[in-house]
């Protein structure tokens, strides 16, 4: 029941903008700027033959709040750097394992909320994080970005992207524009874009009318080797369409409920 209410609230909030791109970008920034949140976590990588043994390090990244309970979607690659590389490693005969712990989502006031992963999909490069103490009423989450099916873009469309500036500038929300360079249809739909921010994945991109088009994620492919060098990993930042995210979010909500 709680999930249903959340989704309803999100749906009511959804509306289209009209007017010049600049105005719409400013409105989106005002409305959803804080919905782009940063997170940090500890990742541990272990593999046979690693000369210095298991390695741990802290990672940081960006995510987008997609439900009123703080459910946040991030790029799986930003959370687990070896995500999507299983094939490449298997071809080399090494199978590293990564584990992620101590995930914390940063709020506007600097408070950090512990979170856990509820669902991950290496193919789509998304992971959903659920705040641990989401029942705490003193924690208020920003307005969620609601991804729905049926939102599409064409080549050369202009997009509006949201991100944050990081610790150097006090985590200030920021907005940028991007352009659709290509639309990939196989094996699944995704958009190739000029990137509005140099390093942001896990952040939303909108059509100029304010509808969320999708999420910036990393697409990795292990290309078959043409030479004796063997397989090569290629990667690019793409926009994962809203319809995939909507489907995944439904699964994530179920996984979250099951986890409780």
């Amino acid at each position: 029941m709680k999930i249903g209410l959340s989704l309803l609230a999100c749906a009511i909030a959804l509306k289209s903008f009209a007017g010049p791109l600049e105005d719409n970008a400013r409105r989106l920034l005002a409305e959803y700027g804080e919905s782009v949140v940063s997170f940090r976590a500890v990742v541990r990588v272990e593999a046979p033959g690693m000369t210095r043994g298991p390695q741990e390090r802290e990672i940081t990244g960006w995510g987008t709040v997609v439900a009123s309970n703080g459910l946040t979607v991030v790029s799986a690659t930003s959370l687990s750097p070896l995500s999507g590389l299983t094939e490449a490693f298997e071809m080399t005969g090494v199978r590293p394992t990564t584990s992620v712990s101590q995930i914390r989502i940063r709020q506007k006031d600097g408070n950090e909320i512990p979170a856990r992963q509820v669902l991950t999909d290496d193919e789509l490069d998304v992971t959903f994080l659920l705040p641990e103490n989401r029942e705490d009423r003193s924690i208020s989450w920003p307005k969620p970005v609601v991804f729905t099916a049926g939102v599409r873009a064409q080549v050369f469309d202009t997009l509006i992207g949201l991100a944050g500036t990081g610790e150097m500038f006090g985590w200030l929300p920021a907005v940028g524009s991007a352009q659709v360079n290509g639309v990939v249809e196989r094996p699944r739909r995704m958009y190739l874009i000029t990137r509005p921010f140099s390093n942001a994945v896990g952040t939303p991109l909108f059509l100029p009318d304010g509808r969320p088009l999708g999420l910036a994620v990393v697409r990795r492919e292990t290309m078959p080797g043409r030479t004796s060098r063997g397989p090569q990993v290629q990667q690019a930042v793409v926009v994962l369409p809203a319809e995939d995210l909507a489907e995944m979010m439904t699964r994530a909500m179920k996984a979250a409920e099951a986890g409780n």
Binding site: R52, E58, Q117, D121, E123, P187
Partner: protein, 696 residues
């Protein structure tokens, strides 16, 4: 840099800068001498060779908030029939486990009796109860290293590269080799402040360290330690023997300290003799005796001293550190051209720095202050605990603000932390009866600043195990059909997907698709695959579909078109979800075999084994030869059918505690037996080793 001033009872002699050249007498006596030389060499070798030992050492080193294990090899020589051997500190001084292979081929465990980083000497005692032979233990005797002369023939014995015991021959090149100050530092101790090496050209390599340098009478005159530019360097036998004797007697080396840093006299000083005082440490015996920088020391405890050249300084240092602790010593010195006299009382010399220990619930390694490390930190007391390394994911690193290497923990929950032991006790008290992490208020110093932080000590949170989306797979190996291949195979030039291998029992196999089939249409859409990436895209497309979908597939088989139906099924990569067991006691993880494992390795269905997924670095299992990817068939003769069986066997072994555990594994097409010597008492061993410290 801490240059430790020292003592020495016999330092009236000068550095050997102009050594008396002693051509081996044999060279002057013609060819027949070579027979005598060979006889001498044979005799010398026969006296020492049986006593040399190859050491296979597992050491621990603090890094990234853990005590990381490392494996190394070195040499040693047995000096007493009751099992004492001498080696280098850098070989075995931080050992957690030492396996000793005697010249006879016998293997026994050794344990550290005491270690001395300042002279790079460690004494190990062999566990003679593990010997099967009733023969007396062979030993070697020390000779007089002071009697060595440049040109003397010497033999270097040991295990170069960790291989079998070997002997090389050379001559003494220098009897008082020095290195630039600080070139060789072990645990913060400047080895060159005490040691003047015997240089020789008997070839030595890594692994020779700790092995004996032997004269032609078959006596130990040095312990090999360093090698550079084709020259080997051995710690003089007399110094090594005196240290070994102290360690065997007391388990440690007692040394005196007076708090002076000395240097060679500048050439511009109009003085012919004496050691220049460069610095006087605060609150030291030297300061109390009013010695000052610029003073020229002429004698120490009745022994004339000199610092004309760098080779002289180790002699002075040895003189100081060898003085009995607490002895009142008369020092004569020059100040402003006037000869003066001072009396000072020596104190016990402390190590340069404390030994690292793991604070698991903090995610750090840490060490106590010693007098010297406190001085280096400009601290007035040795109170506090130095954090030497931090685990990035551990409680200390995740604290707000995080604790970093080099920080000094001075208080926990408002209570002063005097040393590591106090911090361990406080931690134990805080965590008693608690589960999970517990926040504690910590005060720490960084430079001149004092910070407050909250550290959640205790068991770190377990990693997330999120649900993973399962997608359909195409359990076969495929390749695109380029034009050239299509031509040769007589296929239409439309490309296609050739099936190179079908995993048995899975969806593709069940659909009736076979190796050599060419897929020309999938779900009614022609497959045009000419480049390798097209084959990859073909598989990717399947992953974008829904499990359970039934897809019509058109194939070419031996020139004929065939139509089959493929029911898409979820990924066959079950490795991530396979049952696994962490056999901590034997330091490896193993998991159940998947269908893919069986297919790739062509294993019959009734083949029972577990796949070894991880082997702890430098563990007993790795030493025995266990490797990731091995198939574990049995342990101690008991078959391993699944992870439950493995768990049961490991638990039984923990009770039985056999010295050897035999693993039967399959690697590739071969099977082999691996003999593991588990470290049943490892925690006990660690505390034994960490408790050993010189001069405390």
């Amino acid at each position: 840099m801490l240059v430790v001033t020292g003592c020495g009872r016999t330092t009236s002699q000068h550095a050997d800068t102009k050594p008396e050249m002693a051509l081996p007498a044999q060279l002057e006596q013609g060819a027949e001498i070579s027979v005598g030389l060979a006889r001498d060499m044979e005799r010398a070798i026969s006296r020492v060779y049986p006593a040399i030992v190859r050491l296979d050492v597992i050491s621990e080193q603090a890094a990234d908030g853990r005590m990381k294990k490392e494996r190394g090899f070195g040499s040693g020589v047995i000096i007493r029939s009751d099992g004492y051997l001498i080696t280098n500190h850098h070989v075995a001084g931080r050992a957690r486990r030492i396996r000793c292979r005697l010249a006879s081929g016998e293997e026994v465990e050794g344990r550290i009796v005491g270690t001395d980083p300042l002279a790079d000497v460690t004494v190990v005692r062999l566990d003679l109860e593990q010997r099967k032979s009733a023969e007396p233990l062979p030993t070697a005797e020390f000779g007089d290293s002071d009697a060595l002369r440049v040109g003397d023939i010497v033999l270097a014995m040991g295990s170069p590269g960790g291989v079998s015991q070997s002997v090389t021959r050379g001559i003494v090149s220098n009897t008082a080799l020095i290195l630039p100050s600080g070139t060789l530092t072990l645990d913060g101790e400047n080895v060159g402040s005490l040691v003047r090496w015997i240089a020789h050209d008997a070839q030595i390599f890594g692994g020779n360290s700790g092995g004996p340098l032997v004269d032609m009478q078959g006596r130990i005159v040095g312990i090999n330690e360093i090698a550079f530019a084709g020259i080997g360097g051995a710690i003089p036998g007399n110094l090594a023997r005196s240290i070994a004797e102290q360690i065997i007697e007391k388990g440690r080396v007692d040394r005196s300290w007076i708090g002076l840093i000395t240097q060679t006299r500048p050439k511009s000083l109009p003085v012919e003799k004496g050691v220049l005082v460069a610095s006087v440490m605060p609150d030291s015996p030297a300061e109390e005796a009013d010695l000052r920088p610029g003073d020229i020391l002429l004698s120490y405890d009745g022994v004339e001293v000199d610092g004309s050249m760098p080779e002289d300084l180790p002699l002075f240092n040895v003189l100081v550190v060898s003085t009995p602790i607490g002895k009142e010593v008369v020092v004569k010195y020059l100040r402003d051209g006037e000869e003066r006299e001072a009396r000072l009382r020596t104190r016990r010399r402390e190590p340069a720095r404390g030994r690292d220990r793991l604070l698991r619930s903090w995610g750090v390694t840490a060490q106590d202050f010693t007098l010297f490390s406190a001085m280096a930190y400009l601290r007035e007391s040795t109170d506090g605990v130095i954090v030497s390394s931090v685990s990035a994911g551990g409680p200390a690193a995740q604290a707000e603000p995080p604790i970093q290497p080099g920080d000094v923990i001075i208080a926990v929950e408002g209570e002063t932390v005097v040393n590591l032991e106090a911090l361990e006790k406080k931690t134990e008290k805080i965590l008693e009866g608690r589960v999970g992490a517990h926040p504690v208020l910590v005060a720490f110093e960084r430079g001149r600043s004092r910070f407050l932080s909250v550290v959640r000590i205790g068991q770190p949170p377990r990693p997330d195990r999120p649900e993973r989306t399962k997608r359909p797979d195409f359990p076969a190996v495929v390749q695109a059909v380029p034009t050239s291949l299509a031509e040769v195979l007589g296929l239409p030039d439309t490309g296609g997907i050739r099936v190179a291998y079908v995993f048995p029992g899975l969806s593709v196999d069940q659909a009736g698709i076979q190796t050599d089939d060419i897929i020309i249409s999938f779900d009614g859409v022609p497959v045009r695959a000419r480049r390798p990436e097209d084959a990859m895209q073909f598989v990717r497309q399947i992953r974008a579909r829904k499990s359970g979908s039934v897809i019509p597939v058109e194939l070419l088989r031996k020139g004929e078109k065939i139509r089959v139906e493929l029911t898409l099924a979820e990924s066959m990569d079950a490795a991530a979800e396979a049952d696994r067991y962490e056999a901590r006691l034997l330091d490896f993880d193993a998991r159940a075999l998947t269908l893919q494992d069986r297919a790739l390795r062509k294993l019959p269905d009734d083949f029972k084994a577990l796949l070894v997924e991880r082997v702890e670095e430098a563990s007993a299992s790795e030493l025995a030869g266990l490797r990731t990817g091995d198939l574990l068939i049995s342990i101690a003769g008991r078959p391993i059918s699944d992870t439950a069986a493995l768990e049961e066997i490991v638990k039984a072994l923990e009770k039985e505690r056999p010295r050897y555990v035999v693993l039967f594994v399959r690697r590739g097409v071969n099977t082999m037996y691996l003999e593991v010597e588990p470290d049943w008492n490892r925690d006990h061993t660690v505390s034994q080793v960490t408790g050993l410290e010189i001069g405390q």
